[in-house]
C-alpha cells in the first residue's frame, strides 16, 4: 500500500493519505494523451528536474524538456514557447496533461520534503492506451498560454483535459481547502485561514509566482 505514514515523524491526516493514494493510482493509469507508462516517466523526469539532476532517457527529448520546464524552469515558459510546442510533437492537450501530472507530483513531493519524509516511490504503470478524448470545444483562446474551458481562471488551468482538472482539485481539497471553503475567510483546520495564506504567499514568493 502506498503512502504508509505509520513511520511518519508527525501523524498525517487520513484525508491527505487517502488523496495521495488516489493520486498515485490516477498517475499510474492511462491518461487522456499519455499512457500510464509515459505518465510515470513524466513524473520521474519532473522529480529529477526538481532535484537538479540531469534528464533521464525514458521520454523523447522534446517531452523531457517540456516536463523539466514545468517542474523547475518556469521563467522559460512564455506564450511563444508554448505556441512552439506543437512543432516538437507536444500539442496543447498533451501539454496540459503534462502540467497536471507535474503540478500534482510537486505537491506530493514538497509535502514529504517539508515533513522530512523520504519521497514516495513512483507507482508501477498500468497498461492500456490513452483515451484520446477530444478537449472541450467551448474554450477561451488568447487570454492565457493554454486555452481554458468556459473561462480563464485557476480552477480551469488544465480544463483542456477534464480528468486532470478533477485530479488537482481533489488533491487541493485535501491539502488546502475546497472551493466552497475558500469563501470563508474564517476557515480553520489546525491553522487559521490567515496563517494558511501566509504560508501560501511565502511559498509563491519563493517560487516567484505572481498569481
Amino acid at each position: 500500500m502506498s503512502f504508509n505514514f505509520a513511520d511518519a515523524p508527525i501523524p498525517i491526516r487520513a484525508e491527505i493519505q487517502e488523496a495521495m493514494r488516489k493520486e498515485w493510482a490516477f498517475l499510474a493509469a492511462p491518461g487522456t494523451w499519455w499512457s500510464g507508462e509515459e505518465r510515470v516517466q513524466i513524473a520521474a523526469e519532473a522529480r529529477r528536474a526538481m532535484a537538479g539532476e540531469p534528464h533521464g532517457e525514458d521520454l523523447p527529448g522534446a517531452a523531457a524538456g517540456v516536463v523539466r520546464a514545468v517542474a523547475a524552469d518556469s521563467p522559460l515558459i512564455s506564450a511563444e514557447w508554448v505556441e512552439g510546442l506543437a512543432a516538437t510533437g507536444v500539442d496543447m492537450p498533451a501539454y496540459a496533461e503534462i502540467i497536471g501530472v507535474v503540478a500534482r507530483l510537486s505537491a506530493v513531493d514538497m509535502f514529504h520534503i517539508a515533513l522530512g519524509m523520504p519521497l514516495e516511490p513512483l507507482p508501477s504503470p498500468q497498461s492500456g492506451e490513452p483515451s484520446r478524448r477530444p478537449p472541450p470545444t467551448d474554450v477561451v483562446v488568447g487570454k492565457s498560454f493554454v486555452p481554458m474551458a468556459v473561462m480563464v481562471s485557476i480552477p480551469q488551468t488544465v480544463s483542456l483535459v477534464p480528468p486532470e482538472s478533477v485530479a488537482w482539485q481533489k488533491l487541493s481539497d485535501a491539502m488546502y481547502m475546497t472551493l466552497g471553503e475558500m469563501g470563508n475567510p474564517d476557515f480553520r483546520q489546525a491553522l487559521h485561514r490567515t496563517q494558511m495564506e501566509l504560508v501560501a504567499a511565502r511559498t509563491s514568493q519563493i517560487n516567484e509566482c505572481f498569481y
Binding site: S106, A114, L115, M175, R193, T194, V199
Partner: protein
Amino acid sequence: MLSWSAENTGRIWDPRSITDPTVDPLLAGGRQLVAFVDAAHGSDGESLVAARAALREALGDEATVDAAAVIGNFNQMNRLADATGVPVGPGSMRASQDLRAATGIERFYAHTP
C-alpha cells in the same frame, strides 16, 4: 487571499513579511511558519529540521502538517499558473494594489499574454 482573510476576520498582519523574512508577520506562529516555508525550499537539511521543530513547538503537530500541506499545494498551484499563463483578473488586481506595492511582488508579473 491573505489580505482578504485578515481584513474580514479583523486580524492584524504585516504584508512585508511575505517578501522580507526579517519582518514579523504579526500572526501567531508567523515567524516559525515563514522559516518553515523557507527551509522546506532550501537545501540545508539541518535548517529544515530546526524550522520544523520550532513550528511544532510554536503551533503543534497538526498545524505543522497543515503547513506542509499548504506548501505542497502551492507548489502545485504555482506550476499550474506559471505553465498556463493564467492572468490575474482585474478585480483581484484592484484588490491587491496596496499589497503589491507593499511587497514588491509586481516584478513577478511577467505572465500576461
